[in-house]
Symmetry: C2
Subunit: 452 residues, 2 copies
């Protein structure tokens, strides 16, 4: 079957010059290859036919959503890739309140999901920074975000996925059942596999009742180490925060400049911004009080935020990335370490800035050990930047590994972290991943050269 | 290397007549084969050597813990199996409070883990009925239990596992990191794989701070349908119960007779026993009040239990199985359906008892859709029992499948549910499982004939 027969609508089939560079690069990975075609599928059946077409024509396949990935996972590198763009598969298929299950196509945006369920009194906990990412991409990378400390990551909210396999077969993995001891967990194998094992065509998500109350608390500390000590104290005392963000003074100033607004606390070198949620106001307030008591000697200041302050503080936190993009050239990492090594990791990044001559600032999800280390390019020419960056990253990921961490908490390995990943992971485990990939995709058709 | 060299201590190496029948059967699956040897390993290194020995001698391998499994997964069926019994690998290796991680060997009992962490103010949420099962077996079956409705199953508390692969290689899967988008999730693939992909030799478990307060509520309903309606109401209102058990009058009478004590409510055909936990007394009490308000019109009676009543009610619930074993011959199933199909499933089991002439009673974890249907043998001779049981199970699992359910919530497929499992699962998914098994264990050495 010709690709024009599969995708009858010419608007949904891009060939040759009609394929923009946006399909060939991402924010950090430049264009290195062209692609065979871009097909904007509308249905699972079209995806299935496209996979069969790729088999017949011996093409490689890249599945793609909104293209907000930052690890190069959706960037073509061979030249013979068929990009299956699922951003037009954007129906919210149904919402079953009895099982609290939302069924969506992979092109639905995270922001659309959040709005849809919140307007009905429900709550989809995963909260990655990029609200314009698609849920398909979120599942393919096991996206994390702010609320992982209490609620977990995307993985924890996927009840089932419909997948088109590299054989062209379609299968649903997972179910609406809450427990299972019925065979291998293939659903979790697919989640986070970055499009290398199957193409996700439908997703059944678990949602929760929306908590009725929330309260944010801002804490200022004289150092990152004191701040992370504070974080461990909070976690050890059953406070169960929804979000527990840490940022250096050096990161939030970008947001302050960008928004022309100031964080409610101005003293200190590092901040912790925490939200508590719950269905009883008394619980939320009493936990905020416990935090105050626990941390009044460790922190410079502890401030329970009123509604306006809460909005402002979270706006500033959310705008760190946008502000950085406005004012500077940089690369943002997403390494993760066990929560008790967070301070040590951040402190090591500071050593690296002296050693390699690249300024480094950090913010991150302190409650779950995920650091966003930001390497500031500061006008370095391309050659110097590439050399310094690579030397710094080699040191940095060596430290991450030494601390028992991983190169990617939520963005994926893609191609940008592949060489580091291969060094950090145990060869037996890497070999096992390759065996699994080869068993499911023996022709290496799906997103070849990514992740593995 | 000879097996006597690997296991130098003759007490830990059982051969020929020294191998008791306990190694060759379980509560439901009779002895059908002998075994090559039983080796009680003490270390990962011994397990590794035993696997290499099995490779050299071309033996099959069954990993085994306390032998409390009820699906035949640890029963030899070929005659040339080497049983690696890990019940002597029973060290609690360490407890790291900073990351709330307990490291244990696979032979540690669930009850030992619960006691160890609770005495330190922590909490291991999974709570399968058999407290004398080993944690290794819990991981191998993804055991569930009472508290899954709030806290999830074993899978959700495994940070990492050390595994000896069928190649004899040792690898750690997972990590102490809370987030990961760093490669395939092989840890979850191994969890619940019933010893068919690797032998678990060490486990790092996540624990939580022990909730400070709890309150149980007992509700009586005039029918199972009203009771499951009540359950759905509780779940939809953000009550977040720790446990939400449902039992028919017909099951709890066995416990009452066995313990010679009565449930605090005596009216009604079905009961819901719920526990709430939390760190603020006010929250726990107010949720109990909300449950009362929500359900006073649906239930015959709602009783917030005092400490003595709570102990008694849970004792009666916990003793259902023991009481059944004391008074009758039966087979207990562990099917699971989406929570909104729970009533329909139970009601269907009642139809089956008329159709097939086997009495059926039910209890189960209503909050997570997991039903323990109990088939009462009631003196049927072996031939009649086998025929009637099989006819009933064929109908029952067909219904489970039609409702979107699964044959096993927490016990595993083993051999006892294999033929039903194969019919219920989509052939593409089954084939995918076989591909994965073949990729990791191409010689089909680990627990062959089980699950797949």
């Amino acid at each position: 079957m010709s690709i024009e027969t599969i995708i009858g609508d010419p608007v949904r089939l891009l060939l040759g010059d009609k394929i923009s560079d946006a399909y060939k690069q991402d924010i950090y990975v430049p264009k290195v290859a062209d692609v065979h075609a871009v097909a904007l599928a509308k249905t699972t059946d079209e995806v299935r036919k496209l996979v069969n077409y790729a088999i017949e024509q011996d093409l490689k396949i890249i599945a793609r959503g909104a293209g907000t990935g930052v690890a190069g996972a959706q960037v073509p590198i061979h030249g013979n890739e068929l990009i299956i763009d699922v951003s037009q598969m954007k129906q919210i298929v149904g919402f079953d309140e009895a099982t609290m299950t939302l069924t969506v196509e992979p092109g639905v945006l995270l922001s659309e999901i959040q709005e849809y369920v919140e307007s009905r009194g429900y709550f989809y906990p995963p909260d990655p920074g990029s609200k314009h990412s698609t849920i398909g991409g979120n599942v393919a990378t096991n996206a994390g975000g702010m609320r992982a400390v209490k609620y977990g990551t995307t993985r924890d909210y996927v009840r089932a996925i419909e997948v088109v396999l590299p054989t062209g077969e379609t299968v649903e993995l997972g179910s609406l059942n809450i427990k299972s001891s019925s065979g291998y967990d293939l659903k979790n194998l697919l989640i986070g596999s970055e499009g290398t094992l199957g193409i996700i065509t439908q997703i059944k998500l678990k949602v929760l009742p929306l908590p009725k109350y929330k309260q944010s608390v801002l804490l200022a500390f004289d150092s990152v180490t004191s701040a992370t000590d504070g974080v461990l104290t909070i976690l050890a005392n059953g406070i169960d925060p929804t979000a527990l963000e840490l940022f250096e003074r050096g990161t939030i100033v970008y947001s302050e400049t960008f928004t022309k607004q100031l964080l409610p606390l101005q003293t200190g070198e590092a901040y912790v911004l925490m939200t508590l949620d719950g269905n009883e106001m008394a619980t939320v307030t009493s936990r905020a009080d416990v935090v105050k008591q626990l941390l009044q000697s460790k922190a410079i200041a502890v401030l329970a935020l009123d509604v306006e302050q809460e909005k402002l503080a979270w706006k500033l936190r959310d705008h760190i990335l946008v502000a950085l993009m406005e004012f500077t050239e940089f690369e943002m990492l997403d390494e993760v370490v066990p929560i008790n090594r967070f301070a040590e990791m951040i402190s090591y990044t500071k050593e690296l800035q002296g050693k390699h001559g690249i300024s480094v600032i950090n913010f991150g999800h302190a409650g779950d050990g995920n650091i966003h280390t930001v390497l500031m390019r500061e006008g370095l020419d391309q050659e110097t930047w590439i050399a310094k960056r690579e030397a710094l990253l080699t040191d940095l990921y060596e430290k991450v590994a030494a601390l028992g961490g991983l190169p990617s908490a939520e963005h994926g390995i893609g191609i940008i972290k592949k060489s580091y990943f291969e060094k950090m992971i145990h060869p037996v485990e890497l070999n096992l991943m390759r065996k699994v990939k080869n068993a499911i995709d023996p022709d290496n058709r799906l997103n070849p050269g990514k992740l593995l």
